[in-house]
Amino acid sequence: MRIELFKRPQHSVFYTVASPFIALALMIVFGALVFALAGKNPATGLYLYFVEPLTELWSLHELAVKASPLILIAAGLSVAYRANNWNIGAEGQFIMGGVFGAALPILFPAFQNVATLPLMLLFGTLGGMAWGAIPAFLKNRFNANEILTSLMLVYVASLLLDWLARGWFRDPQGYAFPGSIRLPAAASLPDIAPSQGSAHWGLAISIAVAVALWLVMGRTIKGFEVKVMGASPRAGRYAGFSAASMTWFSFLLSGGLAGLAGIAEVSGAIGQLRETISPGYGFTAIIVAFLGRLNPLGAIVAAFVLALTYLGGEAAQMTLGISDKLARVFQGMLLFFVLACDTLIHYRIRLVGTQKA
């Protein structure tokens, strides 16, 4: 017996919709296996991981806090990936967004008025764009592979942040601990409902941006250009579109949104610039983008699923004493299963009995 992949004449509508759900189910099955192997009761583990965070209001707020940057980054990445520009460095662009945006209140603490926050968000976006522009330039100028360059720039960005948080940007009254001053109120994204939990207005920005991108992708000539360039660059050239411009557009958009997510995280959730500001949002957002079918609206839903794995990881660590790296394991399994299940959209699996020649 052997397994054969059989190409479907048309892509399957059913599996286009069902594939993420099958992937989720597989992740839960194998997650249970992981709990069992770790010597824990799988039912308790899964409950703690995926259900308990949804039972209390404050933890729903936490969910929103975690989902918000994921939505923003993944919406931008969805567009870039559709255009066949593989920005893997959103984590670095996120960090640089935080650095650029937070530089304003840190270096000019006296500048506090209604313009402070909008300027910070603007600078954060520009910071992410600047970091995203580097792989775009290298790709267009030297034909350098953007996957490698954007990924390597993540480590440059995180070391730069570390250096700034311990040096130039450090709080002078901070007893030599790394980290900047606490951001003043004028430099903070306000909470949506401070009495209930910590969710801030970054969530609203994220959802608004995702909806806007969805409209751009589905209804405008720019979205058409993205689809054409991603599906067939030669046809794109025939249409008069430029591959170099599309690379710039993809990286500036996805980098800028990652940067915006970075400064929103710093000013809305963390409240200061620390030596690390991201639990890997930029990488997790890649999974979000794929789980959301590279559709900005899908990214909203998928972001909440992935945000849950962060919360579940923390819960499992506190209650069961399992490493919070488990969250990464779940995320990795999910990406793996999503990509594997996507095969079903274009192929059918057949079991073939081997005949003796």
Partner: protein, 569 residues
């Protein structure tokens, strides 16, 4: 190698001539009792399914010893599928293959070669950066009696009238020479049956004549040949038997020498094809497009550099650009369409306006339209709908109609235009607005052509308008090109199909090694003349050659009915 391998290929001509006597004797006997003797290859009831689609449905085929057997059929009739099963790269779902009387299962191409089936592919499988000898070496099966392959290849190639230098790089060879390398590689394995897939589609008429001599010689030695072609005059001239496929079934088996090209075409298509009507052109007035002295360096080591390209398209005429594949036609299309811009803005003019450094949409705005050679992935995006593919080439030229504020696409208006184009060109499709990939090659080409014609362009540049398109769609497309020209526009047709060029063009230029020949009006053009130009002769040499007695230049005359029906794999 079961047979012959130890003998070594260099000995082949000698051995073959020794063996020829025996073969002839055998053939004399076998032809007397051909019905009784087992044929070399006998295929019965072959079925091959791809999903629900039956690419081959109960196909039967008999090839005798020393027979050149033609396999005819339109694109998608199942020829390639059948041949792939004979060569072991596909397995039949049902049916039997008998080889020299006993049933065989051909599990792989290596197995096919072992029993004596060789194949020369339409698309060559040679490494361009290796020499001919190295290419042969890497492809030989283990167990081949080694020795000096280069020397054997040289001897064999000369013995069969296919002169070849084994130490030259494949990248430097012409298409015809590459084909020789493929044939020699195949013959080194001493096959009993050689399968040739569209061998003359890349050759000049003169090169094709040389190939036929080689094939007739092989037949004389008792080697059988399965010959796939859409050029029916060739088939009539060369082949002993023909099997005609349509929709995966055998519809006829005949002696092509007793059929006319028209009757063979009717068997393939299943209906008579309307001939293209053409009134004489009245080309006059200022040229609508001019190209002056354009040079373009080769972009890659295997691309062709354009040199001194000059041409003028007059209103009312169809200008044909003939040439063997890979002589710079793709590059010419790119600079004319603006997919590749050039520094000198004045070198290309559309309706008098300089546009050399303008992109494709700016040239469309000046009234030009373009249809590239490849449908899927260049002229259309397979995964997008027809309406989106309409937008592909017209989002700039029809911006006012198709786009609203903020770049919003007016889907209803685009869809209306899509329906209009589909109706005008009789595009057969499933549903109102299906994906481009769901259309057959001919219908998609009709749609692409209709998309451009719908704009009534004053200049239309088409690269390979009917490549891989069935006969009915070809006729429709050709008629549309002529009608556009007669309405006062200028049409430029780049094509490797000489029949097509002779059928629709008012003047011909020939492309060779990146250069264009002078213009030959259709009244002065003959197959022999254009064929010599395709081979790189200058017009002066052509004049000298064509003044010789006609017997000295056996040009292939191909009937108009045998239109381009290339396989588009």
């Amino acid at each position: 190698m079961k047979q012959g391998g130890k003998r070594g290929a260099a000995a082949r001509p000698a051995a073959a001539s020794r063996a020829r006597g025996q073969v002839k004797a055998v053939r004399a006997v076998s032809s007397a009792r051909r019905k009784a003797a087992a044929p070399l290859l006998e295929v019965e009831g072959i079925v091959k399914k791809f999903g629900e689609f039956r690419a081959n449905d109960g196909v039967a085929l008999r090839i005798g010893e020393g027979e050149i057997h033609a396999l005819l059929g339109e694109n998608g009739a199942g020829k390639s599928t059948l041949v792939k099963m004979l060569y072991g790269s596909l397995q039949p779902d049902e049916g039997t293959i008998r080889w020299q009387g006993s049933e065989v299962r051909i599990a792989s191409p290596a197995e096919a070669r072992r029993i004596g089936i060789g194949m020369v592919f339409q698309h060559f499988s040679l490494f361009e950066s290796l020499t001919v000898a190295d290419n042969i070496r890497v492809s030989l099966d283990a167990g081949f009696a080694g020795g000096d392959i280069a020397e054997k290849a040289r001897e064999l190639s000369h013995a069969y009238g296919l002169p070849l230098h084994p130490h030259s790089l494949v990248g430097d060879l012409s298409v015809g020479e590459r084909q020789r390398a493929e044939i020699v590689r195949c013959l080194l394995q001493q096959p009993r049956l050689v399968i040739l897939d569209e061998p003359t589609s890349v050759l000049t008429p003169q090169e094709a004549d040389k190939l036929f001599l080689t094939l007739e010689r092989l037949r004389g030695e008792g080697v059988s040949i399965l010959y796939i072609s859409h050029r029916l005059e060739e088939v009539k001239r060369l082949c002993d038997r023909a099997t005609v496929l349509r929709h995966g079934k055998v519809v006829a088996q005949c002696d092509p020498r007793r059929e006319s090209a028209a009757s063979l075409a009717a068997m393939m298509v299943g209906a008579n094809v309307a001939p293209v009507r053409r009134q004489p052109a009245a080309a006059a007035g200022e040229p609508l497009m001019t190209v002056e002295d354009v040079d373009l360096p080769a972009a890659t080591p295997f691309a062709v550099a354009l040199k001194d390209i000059s041409l003028a398209l007059k209103p009312g005429e169809v200008l044909g650009v003939a040439g063997v594949a890979g002589n710079g036609q793709g590059e010419l299309y790119r600079i004319v369409s603006g997919e590749e811009t050039i520094a000198d803005n004045n070198a290309i003019r559309l309706r008098g306006r300089p546009c050399g450094s303008l992109g494709v949409n700016a040239r469309r705005a000046l009234g030009a339209a373009f249809v590239p050679e490849e449908r899927l992935g260049h002229g259309a995006v397979p995964a997008l709908s027809l309406a989106e593919n309409l937008l592909l080439s017209r989002h700039g030229s029809d911006k006012a109609a198709f786009l609203g504020p903020l770049g919003l696409v007016r889907n209803d208006i685009v869809l209306d235009a899509t329906r209009r184009v589909a109706a005008a060109m009789d595009v057969r499709k499933s549903g109102d607005n299906p994906d481009a990939s769901s259309l057959s090659g001919g219908n998609l080409q009709k749609f692409i052509m209709g998309r451009e014609l719908d704009r009534s362009p004053s200049v239309l540049v088409v690269n390979q308008p009917t490549w891989g398109v069935d006969a009915g769609a070809s006729a429709r497309i050709r008629q549309a090109l002529i009608d556009l020209a007669r309405s006062g526009s200028a049409v430029m047709v780049i094509s490797q199909d000489l029949d097509e060029i002779f059928e629709i063009c008012d003047a011909i230029v020939v492309m060779h090694h990146g250069r264009l020949s002078v213009r030959v009006p259709i009244g002065e053009a003959t197959y022999a003349r254009i064929g010599l130009l395709m081979g790189g002769a200058s017009l002066g040499e052509v004049e000298a050659a064509t003044r010789k007695p006609p017997a000295a230049r056996p040009a292939v005359k191909v009937a108009r009915a045998a239109r381009s029906r290339r396989d588009a794999h």
